[in-house]
Amino acid sequence: MQTKNENDPREQALADLEYIKHLTFRSRQYASESSPYFILWGVIWVIGFGSMAFGWKEYANWIWGVLSVAGLAVNFFIAAQQEKRDPMPRLISKQFAKIWVSFLVIVGLFIVLLSTGFLAFEFSYIGLYAVILIAVMYVLLGVVLGKQILLMGIWLGILASVTAIWLMPYSSIIFAIFGGGSLVVTGLILKRWRHEHERG
């Protein structure tokens, strides 16, 4: 190993550790890598909630069904491409697995509350519940992926709360413009940020 003083074991050990850190440190900008997902799901929200806001509620099942399947397919394709290009460290993969299990537990509890009547269920509430669950998912993912994702989760949580308390009749248009819109804008900012990071 190249060191300042090769005879000094401490210098040598420090140089080794520095080299290991340099190679394995989480230098990947996970938040910026998530830009395509933000844009994808932002566009889906704008189309899905937008179509409900413009009165196509009778087709809502079909619209959301098609959008969800298409969104998941594109989502998995992007994830596979990213993994191929730059694999994820073991530790992060393990943390991800724990986060998805935690999220599934939360979704399961949500379903139990809905099916037992502890949580009110109406067709018009589906969008609100979906936004709440996605806010929870972003907050959980933010623990591993960084503060940008965490902040998005907090923002969606605030948006869902304000809508539920004061603006429920306008929920579809709010989630389309402010929910979907903020996802798209964040995705574009992160994309630009990534390009700047790669250049500089």
Partner: protein, 105 residues
Amino acid sequence: MSEADLNKIDDLIHAKARLGIMSLIMTYGKCDFTFLKKKLSLSDGNLGTHIRKLEEAEYIRVEKTFANRKPKTVCYPTEKGEKAYQRYICALEDMLYMSKGNEKA
């Protein structure tokens, strides 16, 4: 720092390129040849030689497959390799700890 402490340093891992290979394989769980080459900025021949040394020492397991008709070499850590790497890190920590103690004395 006694000679015994220095002897704890595993020469097979200590070479910069092999330390890099082991660190990346331990971090990612598995690494293909192209990924290692990119991360470590080594030539094909140089990387191949270091991989072979680690494989001969049974520190890593090498799998050669084909992906889209192109040969693909993937390296995995073995149990022996994982233990050796952990011992190496502990030895580095000991070296730092001991030299810090010597400074105080």
